[in-house]
Amino acid sequence: MRYSGLQVIKEGLFGNKGWKPAWRDPAPKAEYDAIIIGGGGHGLSTAYYLAKNHGMTNIAVLEKGYLGSGNIGRNTTIVRANYFLPGNSEFYSHSLKLWEGLELDLNYNVMHSQRGLINLFHSDGQRDAFARRGNMMINQGDDAILLDREGVREMLPFLDFEQTRFPIYGGLYHPRGGTARHDAVAWGYARGADRRGVDLIQNCEVTGIDVEGGRVTGVQTTRGAIKAKKVGIVVAGRSSQVAAMAGMRLPIESHILQAFVTEGLKPVIDHVISFGMGHFYISQSDKGGLVFGGDLDFYASYASRGNLPMVEHVMEAGMTLMPMIGRAKVLRSWGGIMDMSPDGSPIIDRTPVDGLFIDCGWNYGGFKAVPASGWCMAHLMATGESHPVAARFKLNRFATGHVIDEEGTGSQHNLH
């Protein structure tokens, strides 16, 4: 069933009785050409592009909960391509280009909104670091504009320019940055993959990975054994556990990232604003909620929930930067489980087991990567070779010292 405005009107006139399921609920087959473990954003986009770009349709996505039950539904929905190190730069640039055609490609409105992202800076040194970044963005073919204090004031007049603890020197404006409706991304890819014949199997937890003679042969699940020639692990938040099923120990530590949304308010913030100095970023959803967050809780955790010190820190940062949000009331907080890698950059690579591939280590930046991650993981699984824009995301780069450390904080997992 094709979605369109006309279809919405037609169905509306007939009581909305004709809408079909967005995807099937197939029983798992005994064998597939490829299995993707993990029905989150990255897993679903991997499946979609395996089917679409590589014609692999005898494949399944195994999800232990419901589709999109991981971080794809627990993030702050920011989409951007503002990295400055080789490796990240070309990858996120590619991802943003895919975002820009996503609705028409998927026939699903993921509400990708290029409302612009502004990274504030508060000293000459920070300005120069952002200039280095912005220039790299332009060198890569993306967009960036360096705003001075008055330029920021023009766009964001409600910031506290007079009293805030860290005076605003300016901002790096990324006009093509923005947001998207997070759940819709999962659903759009799920529906797209399903329409191409991919089996999306929910409530199917993988409990083991079968390896024979150094080669993957299938997986054990709560719904029985399933054979497969190729298996992709795409389970950010649980990467260490699933990789351990194949005897691997990953350079990953799991951390909580909390985020917050307020009650609905009439539009007051039209951009995505990032206040790095205060570890605070914010945007306003189309429903009117202020969606914002800060840094990790900073201790390893799988609890999907955090504690007050970071909650308070985030609120304090909001109050020093934009005290006009003081009377907005936080409606809900939540926590996602982040795969934190030792350099803050992800891994899309083969593993020591033949036919077993891994896509993990997205730190707290996985949402915007969903299209390119799936694109590159699909390329890797289909061809056995890294896609050129993900060629630096090697599993062994820590051992060899070829790290991609945007933050410059070193090999401590939680500092990225």
């Binding site: 405005g5 999109g68 699903y108 670091a129 360096l146 609905g264 304090e316 909001g318 009377r327």
Partner: protein, 971 residues
């Protein structure tokens, strides 16, 4: 309408307030909702999506409809619950999400278009043409969405945060909470009793009930009097516990100043962090609505709320009332109203087998098939066991049963348990460690049951605390069983039945989500937005779940629940962020020279929480650059003085001090002679540069390390780790002395001359030497070190003398043609000399990159040495520190390219980190990193900064531009 002689409001204290510009009277003790109802105002809001007219549904913080803006001067607070806001003289409130007025809202047209606005419709359209999304569709959606408005102005009001510690935290002051508090307090435990309402007593204030023979409210007051008299009890009214966190920590929001006119320093709200040894959750239960067509009209109210308004406020919200219920409890509503003289036209009991005996007509097996009255209920149509009927009513009290307030027990991932007998979820025991649920929130709905569970929960808490319990007698109270037959929606009728009032989610939306295979409860929630409105699903999640369970052919327990997460009630950013506004976000650190610098007009800039002077303008200087150039030349030609006290200073002593330094620095300090200073490089264990600085050997077993300003805390933590983890038994101790010494750089060809006038005699220090000096009776230290490339000294005195010494040094310098210099000049001087800062050691550079690989001693181990040897950390592919010299201006952040090659990420050769105009050399200088840069001195590179429109060619050179041989330093 207000009833004479009823209610607990203070009839002797009338107050005046306005709503939508009209003045009304209420009494102290009223909420805005009770006062509006007393004034027969029924229409108070508009719904989110369809802009449906809405009235007051509840009498508590769970209210989904009656959300208003409260206005104070040019500031306003959106989405205030009229059911929580207390009235006071001068309160100004107005309705929201309507245009132009509450009674005529043009957006009400959405209601007519609702067939096209089904759940998730926006995912299926607005896709074409692509640019229309940001330009047309999204702005329309954004404008229509949202409820209240922020003022857009800084919130300048006072807020507060505080801590409290107790043995037992009791949450809720109804019968269970009061018994728990009393039991715990009488056993001597420190008790905090937190109550969301302005007045303690919970449902005892809202029901016609008796405890120990007295009216419930009187019994509550007597218990509260007793608690007030106990020093170990703290009563916190107007305080909502918002979240349960690890290890007995709770967040709580106290409404301190919201019920009165603002006053100076009086906080609007206080966010408490309460740490409790044990907790008793006695949060009560929330009544559920019932699904039937147009069940959202003003005049349809929860039965318990009708009783609250009657007993607590002496208000009835209608003249002709009907009651719709699926349980026995709601019968009291009819009886209480009739006792108060209100006309009850009928009880509509959805159960076929309930009792029909009341003093008013009772209709069994009743199902409402429709309601009339757009801005206020006029009639109810229904069918029942005996046929169908229409009742003219202006108030319909509804009760779909009760949901225990389990929310806090879910905050640590606990999943509530479904209890079939009460058709509700109850807390999973132990879901929050050290917290016991009691009373209605635990599924005990009788007054006697609440009293008993409250006492028992306190006994559990006392036992866990190891305290003996005193014998607390249980009062006598009603103990009727709770009889309910679930009724979620009305079958076989046309029309929309609302679940989530605020977000306009109907039973049709839930069924559509199931139809489209959004069958998981989380999918349904996210697809329909059920439960995501300001009431957080408190009024509707369970009913929506039941409808989904039915639509998917599963039971409720199999369908599951969504997760309740903090906060329990929407909580203001300002309260949780209290203290963060303005400069409060981080401590401010001031130098002893601060006032002296400001006296000279120096703009102060923030650096690692410190404030440092940027430059010292002189009359006639129009730009910072003019001042900076003068200060640079001053240092190069005569003498300059700068406060460098912000550098971290660590005093290190012990027989193993030298050995310790050898471990943390790449180079060797055990060979440093006493009285000498050495530059040291410190790596992280991953092989990248952590910090650099000079370390002086003050004695055989005594060193003084300096760190950069930014990394002072980081280095201290690092040293503590290395010491405690790897060599705790070594004879070494260290402590920060950053704050103990004020230290000033005196630099330039006349530095020694200046110091001679100060000290009488300057110790004959070699370059990189240190000596004790005396300034009168004050003992100081003199270092011969330089960050400028000139002959330079740093003189340090105990901090209390810092200001005096700074002013003295300036006075002396100025008589010699010198003076103070600021951060700008300091930066130019160090770039000319090729000294690095954190602009260069930004966390991604290695000793190899900055040309210091020879400083990594081959003769010993050090932190970071092994990892620095990884293949990717060295070699010609790395970007290496170089100098750049150009005739045109360069910018830090520019990238480097080979002239003639295309400018692209793939051809990128490096980047610029620091730039300056060198007035000494008459050239633009820069430091930067260039691939294989050390082998490329003499080459020309293109410096491109798109952002600042810079495109110049520079010459690659050694990073040391000034006095490469160090002749001046050693003069």
């Amino acid at each position: 309408m207000r009833l004479e002689g009823k209610g607990l409001v203070d009839r002797g204290a009338p107050v005046s307030f306005t709503f939508d510009g009209r003045s009304y009277m209420g009494f102290a003790g009223d909420t805005l909702a009770s006062a509006l109802l007393a004034n027969d105002v029924r229409l108070v809001g508009r719904s989110f999506k369809y802009h449906r007219p809405r009235g007051i549904l509840t009498a508590g913080s769970e209210e989904p409809n009656a959300l208003v803006e409260v206005v104070e001067g040019n500031q306003q607070t959106p989405n205030v619950r009229a059911t929580v806001q207390e009235v006071f003289d001068g309160l100004v409130a107005r309705s929201q999400n309507r245009f132009p007025s509450l009674s005529f809202d043009v957006m009400g047209v959405n209601d007519l278009l609702s067939p096209f606005f089904s759940a998730g419709f926006y995912y299926k359209t607005f896709m074409w043409p692509r640019p229309f999304w940001e330009k047309l569709y999204e702005p329309l959606i954004r404008r229509a969405a949202g409820l209240g408005r922020l003022s857009g102005r800084h919130d300048e009001a006072q807020y507060e945060k505080a801590w409290a510690f107790c043995d037992v935290l009791v949450i809720g002051s109804g019968p269970a909470g009061l018994m728990a508090a009393l039991t715990a307090a009488q056993a001597g435990a420190d008790v905090i009793l937190a109550e969301e309402d302005a007045r303690m007593g919970g449902r005892l204030l809202s029901e016609n009930c008796r405890v120990d023979g007295q009216p419930g409210a009187d019994w509550a007051e007597a218990v509260l009097d007793e608690l007030r008299g106990m020093p170990n009890v703290r009563l916190m009214a107007r305080t909502t516990v918002t979240g349960a966190y690890d290890d007995g920590t709770f967040g709580a929001l106290e409404r301190v100043g919201l019920h009165r006119a603002p006053a100076p320093h009086l906080p609007r709200e206080c966010f408490w962090r309460i740490v409790a040894g044990q907790a008793v959750l006695a949060a009560g239960a929330l009544e559920r609505a019932v699904g039937f067509p147009d069940n959202d009209r003003p005049g349809i109210m929860l039965a318990s709320a009708v009783r609250s308004y009657l007993h607590r406020y002496g208000v009835v919200a209608g003249q002709r009332v009907a009651v719709l219920a699926n349980n026995d409890g709601a019968r009291a509503t009819a009886r209480d109203l009739m006792a108060a003289g209100v006309k009850v036209v009928g009880i509509l009991d959805t159960r076929p087998d309930a009792s029909a005996v009341e003093d008013c007509p009772v209709y069994l097996n009743a199902q409402v098939t429709g309601t009339a009255g757009r801005t206020g209920l006029r009639s109810v149509s229904f069918r029942h066991a005996g046929g169908a009927a229409v009742l003219e009513v202006d108030l319909l009290a509804v009760s779909g049963g009760w949901n225990p307030t389990v929310h806090l027990t879910c905050h640590m991932n606990g999943r509530p348990l479904w209890r079939e007998d009460i058709a509700a979820f109850v807390p999973s025991p132990g879901a929050v460690p050290r917290l016991t649920a009691a009373g209605a929130c635990n599924g005990a709905f009788s007054t006697a049951g609440c009293l008993r569970e409250g006492r028992d929960a306190a006994l559990v808490a006392l036992a866990a605390l190891g305290r003996a319990a005193s014998d607390v007698a249980l009062p006598v109270a009603e103990d009727a069983p709770y009889a309910i037959t679930p009724f979620w929606e009305t079958p076989g009728v046309e029309g929309r039945q609302w679940l989530d009032f605020a977000n306009d989610v109907t039973t049709k939306d839930v069924k559509l989500s199931a139809q489209e295979n959004f069958r998981s409860v989380e999918h349904m929630k996210r697809y329909t937005t059920q439960g995501m409105a300001p009431d957080q699903g408190k009024n509707s999640n369970v009913a929506a779940l039941a409808v989904l369970a039915d639509a998917t052919g599963r039971g409720i327990p199999q369908t599951g629940t969504t997760t309740f997460r903090p906060p329990f009630v929407p909580t203001s950013i300002a309260a949780m962020g209290a203290g963060g506004r303005g400069a409060g976000f981080a401590p401010q650190r001031f130098l002893t020279s601060d006032q002296a610098s400001r006296d000279r007009g120096a703009p102060m800039i923030e650096a690692g929480l410190w404030y440092r002077p940027s430059y010292f303008p002189k009359p006639g200087e129009a730009t910072w650059l003019e001042s900076c150039n003068r200060e640079v030349l001053m240092v190069r030609e005569s003498v300059g003085v700068a406060d460098v006290s912000t550098l971290g200073k660590i005093d290190i002593q012990g027989r193993d001090a030298a050995r310790f330094l050898d471990l943390v620095y790449t180079n060797t300090f055990s060979t440093l002679p006493v009285g000498r200073v050495r530059y040291g490089l410190m790596l992280r264990e991953d092989g990248h540069v952590l910090d650099d600085g000079t370390t002086a050997r003050l004695g055989e077993q005594h060193y003084l390390m300096t760190t950069t300003t930014a990394a002072a805390g980081l280095v201290m933590r690092h040293l503590d780790f290395v010491h405690q983890a790897f060599c705790a038994d070594w004879d070494v101790r260290f402590v920060s002395v950053t704050e103990g010494w004020a230290q000033f750089a005196v630099a330039g060809p006349k530095a020694r001359e200046l110091l001679a006038t100060l000290l009488g005699e300057v110790p004959a220090l070699p370059f990189m030497g240190v000596a004790d000096v005396a300034l009168g009776s004050v003992k100081g230290r003199l270092f011969r070190i330089s960050f400028s490339g000139e002959e330079g000294y740093e003189i340090a005195v105990p901090t209390r003398h810092g200001e005096a010494l700074f002013r003295d040094l300036l006075a002396r310098a100025e008589t010699m043609g010198g003076g103070p210099y600021g951060m700008e000049a300091l930066n130019v001087l160090r770039i000319e000399k090729g000294f690095i800062t954190h602009a260069e050691i930004h966390g991604r550079t290695t000793a190899f990159d900055i040309g210091m690989e020879k400083m990594v001693s081959a003769k010993k181990d050090c932190i970071g040495k092994a990892a620095a040897a990884r293949p990717g950390m060295v070699g010609p592919e790395r970007e290496q520190l170089v100098g750049l010299k150009a005739t045109g201006a360069m910018t830090a952040g520019a990238h480097l390219f080979v002239p003639g090659e295309r400018v692209h990420r793939e051809t990128d050769q490096g980047y610029v980190t620091s730039v300056c105009w060198s007035p000494v050399m008459g050239a633009h200088l820069a430091l930067g990193f260039l691939k294989n840069g050390r082998a490329r001195h003499g080459e020309r590179v293109r410096v491109v900064d798109h952002l600042r429109k810079i495109d110049v060619v520079a010459e690659v050179c050694d990073p040391v531009f000034h006095d490469r041989e160090g002749v001046k330093l050693r003069a």
